[in-house]
Amino acid sequence: MFPRASSFANQVDGVFWYIVGVSLFFFVGIVAFMIYCAIKYNRKKRPFGSHIEGNVPLEIIWTLVPTLVVLTMFYYGWVGFKDERTVPKDAMVVDVTASMWSWLFEYQNGKQSEILFVPVGKPVRLNMYSQDVIHSFFVPAFRIKEDIVPEMSNYMWFKATETGVFDVFCAEYCGLRHSKMLSKVIVLSQEDFDSLYHNPKALKPEEEEEEGPPPGKALTKVHWCFSCHTTDGSTLVGPSFKGIFGAKRKVMTGDQEREITVDDGYLRKSMLEPNADIVKGTKPLMPSYKTVITEQEMDHMVDYLKTLK
């Protein structure tokens, strides 16, 4: 069974089934009438048709009745929607950052996670930001969705009504790994949520975990390099960072294949002009960071990449 896990679900389902029900009524009528006529007035029985040009009262009826019916549909849709855009004052706020192709949820006390944890029965307001293109936060079990547009601060809210784990999808096409831009909402009881929320070891931003981490690692994460490049040697979208410095790589420069040794210059160039020398077998998908990364940040990131043996 498809869960109805938010306070909106019943209302949305009500609107949906109301419109489907009314539509079905008209649809069955239309189809039944077509079949009836096709049989009753078949040419085998009647070589000629009757000359009927129209009927004004009928035209008025089938203009007015659908008008009234669709206005009720509009009304129910509007009422449900009004609730979806009216955020309760006591809502807990979570900042959502979407980027190609991952989610990051940041709570009011600074904790971060890639899966959204919320308490049951408490309104949650999501303030949503995109780092690159348009994404859309969609939880089918909650019946809600809102686009996340770069440089726009879109928001949404919901109140989960049952505990459990529910799918989160990106619903606005965002490129290569759009269909992998998934997450979960985990709805916990208030107690469970509180103990997680106040546990100093849980939901910690990753860069605080290690003692004195190289600033390059944090930057690499901030710029979402790990969405496409792993540190464990496996190929995601681009080549892995593992052992990258000093490695010999076959690259394509235009149509020319050549072998290079990865050095400072190559790493820098790959951030600024990622598609100039592409590692053979990967696709030219990486956007340029020319306007995004400073010279100093690049120094740190190159230092960090050198450490990944």
Partner: protein
Amino acid sequence: MGMTDTVPAGAHPEISFYEEKGRYGGIFSWIFSTNHKRIGILYFVTMMTFFAVAAVLGVLIRLELIAPGKTIMEAQTYNAIYTLHGVLMIFLFVIPGLPAVFGNFFLPIQIGAKDVSFPAINLLSWWLFLAGGILAVVSLFTKGGPIDTGWTFYAPYSIRTETNVSLAVFGVFLIGLSSILTGLNFLTTIHRLRAPGMTWFRMPLFVWSLYATGWIQVLATPIIGITLLLIIFERFLGIGFFDPTKGGDPLLLQHMFWIYSHPAVYIMILPGMGAISEIIPVFSRRTIFGYKAIAMSSLGIAILGYFVWGHHMFTSGMSVTARVVFSFLTFFVAIPTAIKVFNWISTLYKGSIDLASPMLYALSFIFLFSIGGLTGLVLGALAADVHLQDTYFVVGHFHYVMFGGTGFAFFGALHHWFPKMFGKMFDERAAKLAWGTLFVGFMVLYFPMFALGWHGMPRRYYDYLPQFQSDHVISTVGSWILILGLALMAINLLAALWKGKKAEANPWGGTTLEWQIPSPPPPENFEEIPRVDRGPYEFARETV
């Protein structure tokens, strides 16, 4: 409206437009012809080529989706293929389809004219259409690779992607130009070239639908033209129209895109509705019910269609006021559409119904288009749309309207007018078999999409979670049945061209002017411009 019988037989040797000796021979007698019928056939051949490619791409998409994960292609290939499927189908088949093929061929004949007002511009339209289509296809093989933005070209993705967006977008721009010129040509022709006695309310309803369509083509298409050029400028010069990091606004692109593309939905469907309004009276052998209501509702749809574009953006972050207003206005488009459906089915009442293949297409059009329209009501309601936006529910709705609607109307019109266009009869039993296969395939392919969408399956997903698989499998099986139906239809019609029986002037007993000239028509349609003295659907009545 009888006129051919008044022409003394043998006064001129009766040759068809196929046999006409023009300035050029061979292929040039086609690609440089300004005869509206030859241009209609040119469009038909080019369009069917693009349609076949796009249909195969559709089957490949379904095959990839038969199981989660990689089945037959990589994600990037999938994204390019679904984009190309959309671009080819929308811009090269569904939008130009009925007007360019049947409008060109039959509009002048139905109003008693020898050609359109501007025959040379008409030829230019086809050349622009061809050039646009070729550019879109060439863009696949150029540096950067095939466009992967979806047919909606949303920014900033369409600005950032490294694929060759510019060339494909420019191709669409040319096709838009072609569409504007066709619309202009039709409007002028309808205003200026109607035969004596062909008053506005004696015009066939197909002509009325082309008239309403013409206004949308002329008034709305320039907006997509500008939008597409802005995308190209943005990509080459980085001006900052749509890219928010440069002060642009991604929603601006969505507004501009849909200000055209929503009315364009009516460019796609109105001529289809017009064709259905021709087929139903002929195969019911009685006058259409509510002629004026159908004619005026075409104009109503054309006008209302301009004010509802925002319903594509209910989750975009647009203001709440805008969302409510657009939802309210959207529901009013349903009314002229409902009026048409009610009048069509009332035309069946006390008719003399022949369930020949064109009629089967027309009745299944009503069936499928009603599902498409009614699911549109669900999407027009704000609360429901917030859940269903960008899911397979939209994909299903869209295909019911565009394929179940326009596509079935196109194939209905093709069967209806095939004898007139090509002078040959097709095998009726094979036509019915192809129709049945197509219809079943259609339902199996697209109906599960409503369930998928309701359960939250997002559109444009290369991969999906396992709970969605069973519906995807059914849908993919449907695509095989559907493609079989299309193949049967194509084989049947090609066989008819090869060795079909010669068609009479009026095989179905139609009453509009095209049925009163030979099949295929002579080069200039009429020996003498006919005088019209009655409405378009005056059928013989039983003598009381």
